[in-house]
């Protein structure tokens, strides 16, 4: 496919074209907005926008460029944010009716950093309600659709963030990853998604789901774009007590296309639970790493089913606590106000939370209740310790672990009606989340039906540079085009 249209550019290409004067930020932004107008009715990625503000921000960037006063490599680059990020410019709702029309008085740190470096906000993106889901089907706006096949899911919860990048609505976006919510949609949509080390990026101003697991993650069409975004948003934030004191690095400046000296662990037994297409893609990726000079080493990893079980205990417990603040008093609309305070709170939460959110709140309440706290919550924390230690032991022997991101390629919308089968789609992403480790998904190839298949690399804590280097070498060796054909769209690309 021709790569000469601005909305098909990677983040680095957009930066280069802006620097060369081939295009202005206003023209680039306009191209992204036109792309949205063309596709959003079908794909449902963008849930809030202000086109005039975006174009004004782009024009301001063009003025800075003329004066030689650029704020950074992202100056003038259109980006979009998952609806979990608080923004003063646009409403923030976590795609929930309980936060309808909520507008924050301050910006999330990750967005503030992008804005201070000149990035242009072209919209807030669809997601599962409060990031609870793996298919984007729990959003109050309805699901977004996969640009590779509109009958299939973009994944979740950052489905809009992955789909918008894949379809060319923006060259980069931010999502959040609690148990795989950046990596799984990245795999389904054929883009690159990174979950940094827990604490690497500030969570201030990101709506909380499960605070000990939530982490901000960038998505882009290639590894370099992901690295550029991480460079922009990483670093300590005194407003987030879990933010680590390590400064940001310029990750995109150290991406050699060889993997010599890297040891890559491959967990063959994990592949038993994956589809044949996924197994073949991971094995091909391992061979590609070897072709770039990496040394492969078989490794044995903890049972991912145990990780999924512990994750849903902990995440639901934390969610039930975090979401207690949505009571109709401080945020959003109210229901049953005429019935007194207690009934107003019960009806507001009952009528405005979606089914999946209520399910997780009740599960979390159960896990934290007297008689079950030790049996589930404390036990799950011990399982988390056990899994983290095992992963750290493996990573003492290898630089990164290569495996599948998901057991299957993108599934059809509505294909997983019961919650447990949906939860199991995060089988391979949850262990790194529990251990707080950085992990990245990139496109490893395509299955027989033409859908992208993601491969996951898990790195050592705070070693995002090594992780991105390994991913870049793999991306170079595979040499895949990540642009969806959009054959099933009304107006193909």
């Amino acid at each position: 496919m021709a790569n000469n249209t601005p909305y098909h550019w990677t983040l680095a290409q957009a930066n280069q074209h802006l620097a060369a004067g081939d295009v202005s930020s206003r023209e680039l932004t306009q191209a992204c907005l036109e792309r949205r107008k063309q596709l959003n009715d079908q794909l449902n990625f963008v849930v809030a926008r202000d086109d005039d503000a975006a174009l004004n921000a782009a024009s301001a960037s063009d003025e800075r460029r003329k004066k030689g006063e650029l704020l950074g490599p992202l100056d003038g680059i259109p980006v979009a944010l998952k609806d979990m990020f608080l923004t003063t410019e646009l409403p923030t709702t976590a795609c929930s009716r309980i936060l309808e029309n909520y507008r924050s008085p301050y910006n999330a740190t990750a967005w503030r950093k992008l804005k201070e470096q000149g990035a242009v906000l072209v919209g807030k993106l669809n997601q599962d309600e409060f990031a609870m889901g793996s298919s984007n089907e729990t959003s109050c706006h309805g699901p977004c659709r996969n640009p590779w096949d509109s009958q299939r899911s973009c994944g979740g919860s950052s489905g809009g963030s992955a789909g918008a990048v894949a379809a060319g609505l923006c060259p980069g976006s931010l999502g959040t990853d609690t148990g795989g919510s950046v990596r799984q949609p990245a795999a389904f949509c054929g883009v690159v998604g990174l979950r940094p080390t827990y604490g690497r990026v500030s969570r201030r101003g990101v709506i909380a789901f499960a605070s000990s697991l939530d982490q901000v993650g960038p998505l882009a069409r290639d590894v370099t774009g992901c690295a550029m975004l991480l460079s922009a948003i990483a670093g300590h934030d005194p407003h987030d007590s879990t933010s680590l004191p390590h400064p940001a690095e310029r990750y995109e400046q150290e991406l050699p296309d060889q993997a010599k000296g890297l040891t890559v662990g491959v967990a063959e037994e994990l592949l038993e639970q994956a589809d044949a297409d996924v197994r073949a893609t991971v094995r091909n990726a391992a061979a590609a790493m070897q072709a770039r000079g990496a040394t492969l080493r078989p490794v044995s990893l903890p049972d991912p089913d145990l990780a999924v079980a512990a994750y849903y205990v902990l995440a639901c417990a934390e969610a039930s606590s975090n979401l207690s603040r949505y009571d109709g008093v401080r945020y959003g609309p109210r229901k049953g106000q005429e019935s007194g305070l207690d009934e107003m709170v019960r009806r507001t939460r009952g009528e405005l939370f979606g089914a999946e959110v209520k399910r997780r709140i009740l599960l979390g309440t159960y896990m934290l209740s007297a008689g079950y706290y030790d049996a589930y919550y404390v036990r799950a924390q011990k399982v988390r310790q056990h899994l983290a230690r095992k992963l750290h032991q493996v990573l003492a022997e290898v630089d990164v672990i290569l495996g599948p991101t998901t057991p299957t390629s993108a599934f059809a919308l509505g294909a997983k009606p019961d919650p447990l089968s949906m939860y199991l789609s995060d089988l391979y992403t949850i262990p790194a989340s529990l251990a707080g480790l950085p992990a990245l998904s990139l496109n490893g190839g395509f299955c027989d039906s033409g859908l992208p298949v993601g491969v996951q690399l898990v790195g050592k804590a705070l070693q995002e540079k090594t992780l991105l280097q390994a991913a870049y070498a793999l991306e170079r060796e595979l040499g895949l085009s990540n642009l969806p054909s959009m054959n099933n769209m009304d107006d193909p690309a």
């Binding site: 507008r103 008085p105 301050y106 080390t197 827990y198 604490g199 000990s212 697991l213 879990t242 680590l244 004191p245 390590h246 145990l306 999924v308 079980a309 512990a310 849903y312 205990v313 039930s320 207690s324 106000q337 005429e338 007194g340 305070l341 709170v345 019960r346 939460r349 009952g350 009528e351 939370f353 089914a355 209520k358 399910r359 709140i361 009740l362 599960l363 309440t365 159960y366 209740s369 007297a370 008689g371 079950y372 049996a375 589930y376 404390v378 036990r379 799950a380 924390q381 011990k382 399982v383 988390r384 310790q385 056990h386 983290a388 019961d418 919650p419 447990l420 251990a435 707080g436 705070l462």
Partner: protein, 111 residues
């Protein structure tokens, strides 16, 4: 609540009502029926964490590596200016944070 009983037992109407009450969530009868099935299935899956051998491990709350939690002297510090404290609020007027009324005016009169 079914304290101490086996988690393999299905959730009852009473269990769901109790959890909904604790979580302050109003549920329809249809939702209660569905939640009985869902929670029974999910808890049946997650109970596998009770089978793992983990006796010597301490619980792990999060993994913020090298996080510093420095202690400071027990000195009373001057509070930041009130205006600084409320400037992140949705609105403030005359030094006070503005919030929506919790109950309609009529209810407040009755109180």
């Amino acid at each position: 609540m079914r304290q101490g009983k086996s988690t393999t037992m299905p959730f009852s109407d009473h269990d769901i009502a109790k959890l909904a009450d604790l979580a302050k969530v109003a549920l329809s009868q249809e939702e209660r029926e569905q939640l009985k099935l869902d929670l029974t299935q999910i808890v049946g899956y997650v109970k596998r964490i009770r089978q793992a051998s983990l006796d010597k491990l301490s619980p792990m709350t999060n993994d913020a590596r090298h996080m510093q939690l420095p202690l400071r002297n027990d000195d009373a510090l001057e509070s930041p200016p009130g205006r600084r404290c409320i400037e992140d609020s949705a609105g403030y007027k005359d030094g006070l944070v503005e919030v929506p009324a919790i109950l309609p005016p009529q209810s407040r009169k009755e109180d």
